[in-house]
């Protein structure tokens, strides 16, 4: 799966979990750019991402990403090659 495909799926997840349809993520998007992405909904997003990609993040990873690009790299590293 390439970065663009992951981004597309993340976009779906964000809109679904935050109950909206106007989120457009890119690699530089941060939590400050997205309405409703706070520390609480972050957990909901993390769990939804884990489910969609059938991966598990470590406790540390969950707090480590500075933007969507870093999240995508993290997901990519966990997916089977």
């Amino acid at each position: 799966m390439d970065g663009n495909e992951i981004l597309k799926q993340l976009n779906e997840i964000f809109n679904e979990e935050l109950d909206t349809d106007d989120i457009k993520l890119n690699n530089r998007t941060t939590a400050n750019d997205v309405d409703g992405w706070d520390s609480l909904s972050h957990i909901q997003l993390v769990v939804a991402i884990e489910k969609r990609f059938k991966i598990r993040f470590t406790a540390k990873e969950i707090q480590s990403w500075n933007n969507i690009g870093e999240l995508i790299d993290c997901i990519n590293n966990k997916l089977p090659v």
Partner: protein, 574 residues
């Protein structure tokens, strides 16, 4: 079951037709998601939970400070979530010599919490028991070591049950059984715990919320009273009309075992007060044959309150059962192996619960257990007698058909009633009736046992309970009146509810004669009544009008000085 995301979407929906209930939520871990899941689940069950959530880890501060926000909020229900993880944290800090007292210490904390709440509020308390954590310090041997965490946690869960038997307003929500059902990895996710202090996973929240709301729904009178059963391939394997008595599958061999165990479960439900009815497409005599003659049948005809077997459609037959039992469709559960019949009943009777039974009868029980269909918040000896009472009621209605004159019929019943105030023997039943009565209930004020006990010592409250027996048997307590002194000349009828089993026997007249006589003997001039409409009490909308009360604004008033005894065929039994 809905996902947490779906429940969250419910929060934006319109709750205006839902019953408002003030709920306080206190936890020693982060409870924001639980709060959202509870409110979202409440939407599904018709309740608008107005939740006040304490700040993180404030249980004791809120409860032991009489001027706290909790007491100011004045909730009807208080949900307390002490987590197993925090319990383990406390245990870890104990000196080895003190470890054996963990359960006792925690139980005494719970006791103090309940006492403190009860001293200020009339709230009902829901307390989660502890999900199990085995720290494996002793391995299996921990079961033999009193100071092990596993030993203390299990002891605490057990003693909480003992504590709950003595506290009428304290209810346990069984988190431990949820973990037992779904597994620890479904309940707890370390990465979330580390980052947020939440001890429940997103996926288990809907389950925990549902189990909690089940209790709250039961508190507001919403619970199941009747189980309607199909027969062929539901109660036994095979088709009695085709296969015959010898060939249906029941007993200890093969798939017969599944049906026998299923019947044992249903029998236990019956013994705890669930009314059983049969609704089967069969000739009646053939359908009854296994109940009468099959050696492996667990259920017998005397277990079934209403037995309907014919070739009519099942929705009509269930309407007939409803008519005989006089309870709401929303308090009925229908079990049938046939998807066609299930859909037909669902479509025609939207309120009835029709579980989507698995195709394999061997799975019936494991499928039904976690649905938790039969939540209750009370249990009394009368529950065990309920089936008998409904059967007698049916005999009575058969007799009635032989009389053309209603007075002659009532006369022939030889009815008598024991009239008593509340006392320590009848308070559990009074409280239970107060929760169960929906239709014949003028104001639908629900009382707990504790509140009923409080009225006994209140000089401004006069209480009456009524039993009714007749030549067919004893119905037990079926009616309750609570009068409040409003002033020197007026008694207000705070509560009047009656079991629908005894409708049309002149019980209303008898009750009014009794309370009017009390009012007259104590020099009151007026009895004042009120009807408060609920979703279910349309039946008594004109109750006071029919009894001769005059309307006065929102109330109904009866002048005692002009009262004439109402005709009635019930004798007072001393």
């Amino acid at each position: 079951m809905q996902t947490f995301s779906q429940l969250k979407k419910n929060l934006k929906k319109n709750f205006s037709n839902h019953k408002k209930i003030k709920v306080a939520l206190l936890g020693d871990t982060a409870t924001q998601f639980l709060q959202q899941a509870l409110r979202g689940t409440g939407f599904e069950q018709g309740v608008d939970l107005q939740i006040w959530e304490a700040d993180f880890n404030q249980i004791e501060r809120q409860i032991f400070d009489p001027s706290s926000e909790l007491f100011e909020f004045n909730p009807e229900v208080i949900i307390i979530f002490h987590s197993a993880h925090k319990l383990l944290g406390s245990y870890n800090k104990l000196k080895p010599s003190a470890q054996s007292s963990l359960a006792d210490t925690q139980l005494s904390l719970v006791n103090n919490i309940v006492t403190s709440i009860n001293s200020q509020l009339k709230a009902k308390i829901i307390y989660y028991n502890y999900s199990e954590i085995d720290d494996s310090v002793f391995g299996n041997y921990g079961n033999k070591i009193e100071s092990s965490f596993l030993f203390q946690l299990r002891k605490l869960n057990c003693e909480l049950m003992g504590f709950a038997t003595k506290q009428s307003n304290f209810f346990l929500c069984d988190l431990s059984s949820i973990q037992n059902q779904y597994g620890k990895s479904s309940l707890f996710q370390t990465s979330i715990y580390i980052n947020t202090e939440m001890v429940l996973t997103i996926d288990i929240l809907p389950v925990v919320a549902k189990k909690t709301i089940d209790i709250i729904a039961a508190m507001s009178g919403n619970f199941k009273k009747c189980l309607i059963l199909d027969l062929d391939n539901t109660m036994w394997g095979g088709i009695i009309g085709d296969d015959g008595l010898e060939n249906i599958q029941l007993g200890s061999l093969g798939i017969g075992k599944a049906f026998t165990e299923f019947q044992y479960w249903i029998k236990k439900l019956k013994n705890r007060g669930i009314i059983l009815a049969v609704c089967s497409k069969n000739a009646e005599s053939i359908a009854k044959e296994p109940f009468e003659k099959h050696p492996d049948m667990i259920l017998r005809l005397e277990d079934i309150a209403v037995f309907i077997a014919n070739w009519e459609n099942k929705a009509d037959n269930i309407r007939q059962i409803q008519n005989i039992l006089n309870i709401g469709f929303d308090s009925m559960v229908f079990l049938d192996d046939n998807p066609f019949e299930r859909n037909m009943v669902r479509e025609n009777i939207p309120d009835i619960i029709v579980p989507e039974l698995p195709e394999d009868p061997a799975e019936y029980l494991e499928f039904l257990y976690p649905l938790n269909l039969f939540e209750t918040i009370s249990f009394s000896n009368e529950d065990a007698e309920r089936t008998k009472q409904y059967q007698v009621e049916i005999e009575r209605s058969v007799l009635q058909k032989n009389f053309t004159n209603e007075d002659d019929f009532l006369q022939s019943l030889n009815m008598s009633s024991v009239v008593e105030p509340f006392n320590k023997f009848n308070t559990p039943r009074v409280a239970q009736l107060s929760q169960r009565s929906n239709q014949f209930n003028l104001r639908t004020v629900r009382y707990t046992e504790t509140e009923i006990e409080d009225t006994i010592i209140d000089k401004n409250i006069i209480s009456f309970t009524f039993t009714l027996s007749d030549k067919f048997g004893d119905n037990g307590m079926i009616c309750v009146i609570i009068l409040k002194k409003e002033n020197d000349i007026t008694l207000f009828i705070d509560t009047w509810f009656m079991s629908c089993r005894v409708l049309k026997r002149g019980m209303e007249n008898f009750v009014l004669n009794i309370i009017a006589a009390y009012a007259a003997a104590n020099r009151y001039t007026f009895l004042k009544g009120e009807y408060i409409a609920s979703a279910k009490n349309e039946m008594v909308k004109n109750h006071y009008f029919h009894l001769g009360f005059q309307q006065s604004a929102d109330y109904w008033v009866l002048n005692i000085d002009k009262y004439e005894q109402k005709k009635c065929f019930i004798q007072t039994k001393k």
